[in-house]
Amino acid sequence: MADGWQLFLESFWPIVVGGLTGTIPLALASFAIGLVLALAVALMRLSKNRVVSGIARFYISVIRGTPLLVQLFVIFYGMPSIGIVLDPWPSAIIAFSLNVGGYAAEVIRAAILSVPKGQWEAGYTIGMSPGTALRRIILPQAARVSVPPLSNTFISLVKDTSLASLILVTELFRVAENIAAFSGQFMLIYLEAALIYWLFCLVLSSGQSMLEKRLDRYVAQ
């Protein structure tokens, strides 16, 4: 028992470092790129042009209809056979970004639609172009609505990055796997990894609350 406790303590920091240098940067980069992609896809989906909205629809359907692990493997193990060889990190970021792009697009689309039409018109009537109205009037209001669902997406993403261990990215779970294999203490180490994921997510959830509070300052309580 004392040995187990000793191993738990000794492995705690290396696993956390795996999270800080692998999981978190991977999640942040993928989320940032994914959000930009999602905004573009959401706007395409809202387009009156049926070809444009059809493309967005198709993309969302493929991303949501196929497993993330399969997407990851296609990019890392599949693409070399058509001559495109990518390192683990770029492969992971591409796969996760595309995935976030599909899921968050629907969130952003719904958030944009939740802003009353009169807000667009008020923007137009003070001379704004649709792009300016979107940027200055609509998106700031849509952001408030979309924080809770997008936080969900982000927290899911943080945990999903554990899949990147399967394409050789050194992140939280891969560090834990190595320690487990080396020590033979699978139960202990995997529970420890779970605990550390949970701690990360607790921090993220409190970040979400702070962000929501900030964005709620202009709404009657």
């Binding site: 009169g118 018109e121 137009y124 202009y218 009657a220």
Partner: protein
């Protein structure tokens, strides 16, 4: 296409003197030396359908500088659609809109985006549901158009906005968010937001219809003052008392047409059309149902 007027020359209904301002060669944006009561805006034959519903069936409207035109009529009569067409929020199916020294639009052909923006540059709208930007403070709401669209330097925009807010008695609310204001205050900010754009034409779309009765007065007072100062405006309203006091011309609309137009004294005291008389009866004596159908029986 729409700026270069080839369609208009074939229209015999137009008077030549109204077209002079658009004569090619002159700088369309230069302030013209026109007399004070010259025509600012002319709309002719405006038609609009939503699906099968024909909302406007050929509307003619002329607004002179400094004039207050009030549109009254039952709901669904097309008043709001007229107003929205003047601001480019709706695109009519047919008809023309000529803004003195500005765009000249013929809706028979597709309208270029630039012309629609030119229309908005010259008029500003006050909505029934104020439509203030909830994520911006009062002052931010007011300077958004001048700073972001008209590229007015921010300090200047803030100074002008503060002066306007002061005028409508809201100087102390400049840093409040819209949700912290009463309905009447919100609508006054809506008016200031429109004024800050320095439009040539103010459009009011039932500016008091969404307000509690005790707040109507403060908003009408502001609009009345603006009218007295010589602002040109088109007002859609159900406030007949206001129309009577402030209007130079009243248009009664019903079923997508202008049924009757004239000075308020004429419209309100001796309307010539039966439909106008019935509408006025209904509004002035809402509980007297018999009277509304057969005014003679009372």
């Amino acid at each position: 296409m729409s700026r270069s007027d080839p369609n208009n020359s074939g229209d015999p209904g137009r008077r030549d003197d109204e077209r002079r301002a658009d004569v090619p060669g002159g700088d369309p944006l230069a302030p013209s030396e026109t007399p004070d009561d010259s025509v600012l805006l002319t709309a002719r034959g405006i038609r609009k359908s939503f699906g099968d519903n024909e909302v406007l069936r050929s509307i003619d409207l002329e607004v002179r500088r400094g004039e207050v035109v009030v549109l009254i009529g039952p709901s669904g009569s097309g008043k709001t659609t007229v107003l929205r067409s003047l601001n480019g929020l709706e695109t009519p199916d047919a008809g023309t809109i000529d803004f003195e020294g500005g765009p000249s639009l013929d809706f028979a052909a597709p309208i270029a985006k630039a012309s629609r923006f030119a229309l908005r540059d010259r008029s500003a709208m006050v909505f029934q549901q104020h439509n203030l930007f909830p994520h911006m403070t009062v002052i931010e709401n007011v300077i958004e158009g001048p700073v972001r669209v008209q590229r007015v330097p921010k300090p200047q925009a803030i100074a002008e906005a503060s002066a306007l807010l002061d005028r409508v008695g809201l100087a102390d609310k400049r840093d409040a968010y819209p949700f912290e204001l009463s309905g009447g205050q919100q609508q006054r900010v809506g008016i200031v937001r429109a004024l800050a754009l320095k439009p040539r034409l103010l459009l009011f779309d039932e500016p008091t219809s969404a307000l509690d009765p005790e707040l109507v007065g403060e908003v009408l007072q502001v609009i009345k003052e603006l009218a007295d100062e010589g602002w040109t405006m088109v007002v859609v309203t159900h406030e007949l008392g206001f129309a009577r006091q402030a209007a130079d011309e009243v248009l009664f609309m019903d079923g997508g047409v202008v049924v009757e137009r004239g000075a308020p004294a004429q419209i309100f005291t001796k309307p010539t059309e039966e439909r106008t008389r019935r509408f006025l009866d209904r509004i002035l004596r809402p509980l007297d149902e018999d009277g509304s159908d057969s005014p003679d029986s009372t």
